[in-house]
């Protein structure tokens, strides 16, 4: 789960990472009222998950209440412009009004999980404020990394070493170890997979402040902090995620593509393999769908309807290889789902093997469905049916 900037900064506050003074507002009137009460130079920032707010004109400055009202109205007037994952853009429901900082220098600081060393890695660069991918291309030597031994955890030398190794300006140094301590604390306490401060600002009066906040929380750890359920509620899902959630699937278990072969498989690996097989058979897939374990009738019906109603699929290729998922249950699910669905009917191609395969095939046969033998055969058949 990716957090919005204002949520990220709230977590920064809790772990003692300095952030600019700010107010989260939902209307232009609220923004104007806040600026009226707190005179000064403010910046109004759209609260969205999509990147590119600056380029999209969704970050604007204001020196008084009238300006604040005007720029907020402007920001809220239109959604973020569309991109591939968000073909309708992203609605803007709130802004963050924040003090403008008199910035001397901008650095970059992040913590993430490194799969190879199986450790959290802290990354620091003296080039902040630009996309870190750009820094990595232009100044790869500028990125200092430290892989943390989680048995020890954070210790201040890590911050010191990173500051020296990345040649951070001495102005950062004194406060920097506490910043790294903060992101490590946040990372573990709240189960984050990524915490990024970009830019980490050094102000002209010598303060080190997190000017932006990008945090990805581990969905599997959300249960440890029940309040995050509320935080999640305000986060927008993209359209595929919203459809997946409505069908009772994990939000990452469904994604649409422009083809006409609908697919469903159990396990992300097999679901990807099914897509590959359809491509290899000369077809174009309509969707990726991992039904997960426990494919009962209700679940199968919902998946079928999701594909039939929300993609242009002409055929539904069901590819099940049973391990923890039992073939007889899946078969029962398919038969019952097809009985119960009220959606339009498209042909099914079923490949069912693995645990309780025999029982499953018997159930399908009894319902007049003949499963194919292999994935490639199924893909070929599905592509044929789609082109028919």
């Amino acid at each position: 789960m990716n957090l919005m900037e204002y949520q990220g900064k709230e977590l920064f506050r809790r772990v003692g990472i300095p952030v600019p003074r700010s107010q989260h507002c939902k209307t232009a009137d609220d923004v104007a009222a806040f600026v009226e009460k707190n005179p000064g130079n403010w910046v109004v920032k759209a609260q969205v998950l999509m990147g590119g707010r600056g380029k999209a004109g969704k970050i604007k400055f204001a020196k008084n209440a009238d300006e604040a009202r005007a720029v907020t109205t402007d920001i809220l007037a239109t959604p973020m412009p569309p991109n591939r994952q968000n073909p309708n853009g992203e609605p803007i429901n709130a802004v963050l009004v924040e003090e403008t900082l008199d910035i001397a220098l901008e650095a970059y600081c992040a913590i993430a999980i490194d799969r190879t060393t199986k450790k959290p890695v802290v990354m620091v660069s003296k080039f902040g404020g630009m996309d870190i991918e750009e820094v990595s291309e232009k100044h790869p030597e500028s990125i200092a990394k430290h892989f943390i031994d989680v048995a020890v955890g954070y210790s201040p030398f890590i911050g010191r070493e990173l500051a020296f190794a990345s040649e951070l300006d001495p102005g950062f140094r004194k406060q920097f170890p506490a910043i790294v301590a903060g992101i490590y604390d946040l990372f573990f306490k709240y189960g984050a997979k990524l915490v990024e401060i970009n830019p980490l600002a050094l102000t002209k009066d010598g303060r080190v402040i997190a000017s932006d906040a990008k945090i990805e929380l581990d969905d599997d750890a959300l249960y440890k902090n029940p309040e995050f359920k509320d935080w999640q509620a305000v986060l927008p899902l993209d359209e595929d995620e919203a459809l997946a959630a409505a069908a009772g699937l994990g939000i990452r278990n469904f994604r649409r593509f422009p083809g006409d072969v609908g697919t469903m498989a159990n396990g992300a690996g097999l679901a990807m393999g099914t897509m590959d097989a359809v491509k290899n058979a000369g077809g174009e897939i309509a969707n990726f769908l991992d039904v997960g374990g426990g494919a009962n009738a209700e679940r199968v019906r919902k998946c079928y309807e999701l594909v039939v109603n929300h993609t242009p699929a002409k055929v539904f290729f069901v590819n099940i290889f049973g391990g923890i998922t039992r073939g007889d249950e899946v078969a029962k699910g398919i038969v019952q789902a097809m009985k119960e669905t009220t959606s339009r009917k498209i042909p099914l191609v079923i490949r069912l093997t693995g645990t309780n395969e025999k029982e499953g095939r018997e159930i399908l046969a009894a319902a007049g469905m003949t499963p194919v033998e292999t994935m490639d055969e199924g893909a070929k058949r599905a592509v044929e049916l789609a082109s028919a």
Binding site: F187, K193, G267, G269, L270, M272, D276, F321, I324, E357
Partner: protein
């Protein structure tokens, strides 16, 4: 021979009285796995429906049975605890089936359970055909033989095994290492074992997009196993880019993680990469023929 387990490996089941635990215990027993008992706190002294003794703690189970292997069927919030308990009780090999274990739990587990090999989490376990199955793999598609298999995916593994078996290639050991960001045992860990296993004459590596485990595996093969016939497959070559770890993830792994990076790495190591699972048996046959 086989890697990680053999017919005599004494296995306990953590969570043996739960639904999944009980069901898969039956299946493992049917396969011939030497399951010596299970653990469910508060049910110590009882017998399971399979007639196995239940213990309150792993320590009690180990003391009573001499178990060295465990397979864990507990809900995600309790998986790390189960692994710590196994480690402290002297278990040396643990398979964690549980899906949805917080990644931070695993970061700490892998950093602190030295001396215990962990397969998973979020994995189907492993099987040494004709000897033992520890996990949830469907035993009937496997056949004893001389091909080792390592896979990040669950169901895709069965797919590949099925193809191998149908093509006449039996397996020494098949390991589903799991697809989570932090896993106990990587491709390289398994390759090192296969290298030293006299029964294993060839290896199939089933990778996936993302991460850099495949690149590490290719580098290991190039350096340490140039003579071993090995075939690779990369799943998800047509997969959506999806929501990544974010920018920082790209920096850690550099250009790694893309299908092309993985394919290039394997090719540079002299490992042919199948375009689809069904090509694997033929490529394997070629490699084994070259060797002979």
């Amino acid at each position: 021979m086989s890697i990680f387990l053999d017919k005599n490996s004494k296995v306990i089941v953590q969570g043996i009285t739960g639904g999944e635990g009980s069901y898969h215990t039956s299946r493992m027993l049917a396969y011939g796995t030497n399951i010596v008992g299970g653990v469910t706190p508060g049910k110590g002294g009882q017998k399971t429906e399979h007639g196995l003794p239940v213990f309150d703690t792993v320590k009690n189970a180990v003391n009573a049975t001499g178990a060295t292997h465990t397979v864990i069927f507990v809900p995600p919030p309790f998986a790390a605890d189960a692994l710590y308990e196994a480690h402290e009780a002297g278990i040396t090999f643990a398979v964690c089936i549980t899906e949805g274990v917080p990644v931070h739990d695993m970061l700490k587990v892998v950093a602190t359970t030295h001396g215990m090999r962990i397969i998973g989490p979020n994995c189907p376990g492993l099987i040494s055909p004709g000897r033992s199955s520890v996990g949830i793999m469907p035993g009937h598609v496997f056949k004893e033989g001389n091909v080792g298999l390592i896979s990040r995916s669950g169901t895709l593994t069965y797919e590949v095994v099925d193809l191998l078996t149908r093509a006449g290639f039996g397996q020494s050991t098949c390991v589903g290492i799991g697809g989570d960001p932090i896993i106990g045992t990587t491709f390289v860990d398994c390759l090192r074992e296969f290298k030293n296993d006299p029964q294993t004459d060839a290896v199939v590596v089933c990778g996936e997009i993302g991460g850099s485990d495949e690149e590490d595996a290719a580098a290991f093969i190039k350096a340490h196993m140039p003579e071993m016939p090995i075939v690779a497959f990369i799943g998800g070559r047509n997969a959506p880019p999806g929501k990544s770890l974010g920018h920082a993830g790209a920096i850690i792994s550099g250009t790694f993680g893309t299908p092309q990076s993985k394919i290039n790495a394997f090719k540079a190591a002299g490992v042919p990469v199948a375009d689809r699972p069904s090509e694997i048996p033929a490529l394997l046959g070629e490699r084994l023929a070259v060797r002979v």
